[in-house]
Symmetry: D2
Subunit: 304 residues, 4 copies
């Protein structure tokens, strides 16, 4: 399919939404971004690509990194990983911490913060150089060695992140964190601070979209079945408390971050990365969500 | 694809699971069923079918009926339906009633009981003969005029259903029920009591699976986009508090009922109904879930 | 102590608060009351009394009746009553229904609605003429045979009381209601509809205040120890989610109702009833609370 | 009243309960205590005293210290203190952390851990030498300069106290902690580690029991009304999730600690300290609770 004309329409129709929402403002580094930025990049199965706007401008991927760390931990532990974190949607964010109480410290899934903190703890235990290993893995996926952490962002988040500190201590109180809380938080904030552009993101999700073979490099090895399972978690839990809405309106597995980025993909067809910094109240990019909804509506394709 | 040999293997390997779980015992009519029953029926896009075991034996479809009533209500109200019920997964069942409190009486999705009760209330308001209309719709979908309610089951559930009575009064206290609570419960229990077999179920989900065109008969009319959206809700919320697990292991949209039935489908390829009465603690058929997991693993197909 | 001059000051200083708050408006019969009404009546150990304003005007006692029904049920079951209801404060009202879920249908105390519904169920089981017996008991306590139900109020509350209907069905679903839900609600709303004036209320709490001997008439018999235990529950749970505030500021055991009435007492000294219809957000009389705070501050007496 | 013979009976009858319960085992220093220890000390208004068993053996007062820190903070801030912490009972411990979420970081009362952490933060802000000032205050109350922290206990608790660390970070995330979390925890654990014996405890609560005048020394000054208000909070919230039970069975204001100590008092009559290390599931001393219940039953005195 030639997506060029569809993209043009997506760009035009989604433009109205660029004035809606607010940039994440809890750390200065994120709030200084030009709110009008908009980028989009599609990578297809037959190695074509289509792009729009600021598709080469790097931004903080934030929670999109949770897919990469889950992949590494799943590769390391296999099915044993599910003893420490679940695969169910979490329901309202309101319940996130009380859920830990009555489910004995097992987070509902690896994409809510408590789950990602447990995944982080697993990587700390099993890797000799967790930060380096993560970067190497992401660079390999994106086929781009320039990808790096933004240490200012990592540092800022660490200083103000009392909610995450509360979560990691609660997990530790329940026996589901093995490393020191400070080390878990330090590595966690490094993950979130990874900076990528739309092109790199679309490229890095090609194996998830089955555009190329699954992972088999460095210490990370996943078979097709495992990749599909990660995709299922993205679909049910990839968009915070708006995962149902995204599946409902867009119909693709994906993952968002509070930096305004969204990655999504149609298995065997394409992966698509979009970026627009203004967020709705649930923490997802307003124009990014709308652009993807328009894209799947206009192209008439979805997993359903 | 010729599914015959796969089915044989599914039958054999899933047999070990037929001793696990317990039949729903809160109403006598459901608990009298032979626990060893097992049926499976596949309907494909090219109008082939494959079947196994007790595929023609009728059983109580229970919550699978929620897909039919949602379809009717969505057809009647269009997008306005989402003002009264959400599309997000519900998280732990533990929170179902307190969630109503802090989200002002708007149930999270139409497949948890509070959501289905709101859907029932909508049908009561908009249909002249809601029970008849529902039966006609289901018969049309299944292409079988023999489908009916089991009035003994409906009556039994009404007498013992204090949890649902509590929910409907709570919804009414929040202003999200317009008809008398007793009428809502009466119609709700009729829906749950519908009796079908695997063949009828597989047939009736053909339009959801895009094997045939979407609905356009009687008062129920849905376009392709609306059908896909219902499918998305099935994927994220179709299996109670095990929806993530089902998406993770099976990778298909679907819906289960405490009668032991499960319907699932791969869009554009097939719909599959399976029945085995013994349930796990989450209320889903043990052998049915396993059979579907084996089926998608062996066939190598899923939406991911 | 001569309370006359204190009362004068209480009247004057509390007057400013008569404009604050809102009359309970969920049933017409309660909302038609003149919002400026204010009555107060004190009964002392040496059989003196002091009164102010509309102390002889009858009003709906609402939840104050929960003390009477608890007394009857405690008399009937003895310590066994605590198997079906607890004695702990309930925390936020927000949690009232979810608390039933995780504490298996045992309400935290007899003064929250779920607890009072269980008490009602107990009386229905053990009394032949529960409504008559309750009236006879209250009339005996108040030494006034004119006390009666207001059937209009009882009827109105029954028709609109979906929150209580939800609670009683939830309790029944947990096995903690033995009679039909409708009968429980009917008797419950009759209790709430009892009409008394400040004088009758102050008189009827004399045995609780140890001004006269505890109960020993009709089927209701309680010893001193049992009466003190009921008093302890009044102190910790008598004012909805403001019980701590009342103990903190007033320092007396007591009970309030949404009709605007409050009863309180200093053991061995006096019982005091106050009435002013305007309520704060927690459902307690604004001027009534203030009057009692002033009274104990000026008299320099409290249980602490 | 001569309490000697009553005490003898209390000792005998409560002995059966010395085998019930478990010593707090989360820190080695607390778990090494001889479980059979039992001490009791009564200080009366006319300066008599009565004692039993190990009444002079020091133990870790743990949460009893929360009364001392609340007193200091109330003295420093006056009524403004209630902007940062409430006076209502907390309901189930289950809800403690989620309560912070929906009540915007304002703990329900100063005796649950989140509330005590806020009180600790207040003292850190307003005192130059908080640890020294606290010790001086407690020594003055108990009229004994030998009272001190147990630094081993303070250190142990700090290392293992991830639940409290979670709470303090959650409070900080809600803006209700002004000092660094580590400093709050450090001072908090020092408070809990104070070591006293029954005699010192009974003596130190004399002003709360109105046996002597309220506080007026060093920086701590409270009037009678303020002291009574602290007593009201002890009654409604002094025994974790068993405060209602204690008021119900014992009928005195008081405070317990997981070291096995309990302080209680009858205003204008006596203060009583009891110590027995084995705890029930709610964290209160089994034999201590029973001894106090027997004591008020046999003496026929309570605030009700």
């Amino acid at each position: 399919m030639d997506y060029s004309s569809i993209l043009e329409q997506v760009f035009k129709e989604s433009k109205a939404y660029s004035s809606v929402g607010k940039i994440a403002n809890y750390i200065p580094e994120l709030s200084n971004i030009n709110p009008d930025k908009f980028g989009l990049y599609i990578q297809t199965k037959d190695n074509q690509h289509f792009e729009l706007g600021d598709s080469l401008e790097p931004f903080s991927i934030q929670s999109i990194s949770k897919v990469f760390t889950l992949s590494m931990a799943f590769s390391l532990l296999g099915e044993n990983i599910w003893k420490r974190v679940g695969v169910e949607p979490s329901g309202s964010p309101f319940n996130s911490i009380v859920q830990l109480e009555y489910e004995n410290g097992i987070p509902r899934n690896p994409f809510i913060n408590p789950g990602a903190l447990v995944i982080t703890d697993i990587l700390l235990t099993h890797l000799n150089n967790p930060k380096t290993d993560l970067l190497l893995f992401v660079r390999k996926l994106a086929q781009d060695d320039s990808i790096n952490f933004d240490l200012n962002i990592a540092q800022s988040e660490k200083e103000t992140g009392h909610h995450n500190a509360s979560l990691v201590h609660m997990l530790k109180a329940h026996g589901n964190i093995n490393n020191p809380c400070e080390e878990v938080l330090d590595f966690y904030y490094h993950q979130c601070s990874i900076v990528m552009n739309c092109k790199q993101l679309a490229q890095s999700f090609s194996p998830y979209a089955s555009l190329i073979e699954p992972f088999d490099f460095a210490s990370v090895e996943l078979n097709k079945s495992q990749v599909k399972r990660i995709n299922a978690i993205m679909l049910s839990s990839g968009f915070y408390d708006e995962s149902g809405e995204f599946a409902f309106k867009v119909g693709l597995p994906g993952k968002s971050g509070v930096g305004g980025g969204i990655i999504a993909f149609l298995p065997h067809e394409y992966s698509i990365a979009v970026w627009s910094p203004k967020l709705n109240k649930k923490g997802n990019s307003v124009r990014g969500m709308k652009a993807l909804e328009l894209f799947t509506t206009l192209s008439g394709q979805s997993i359903f």
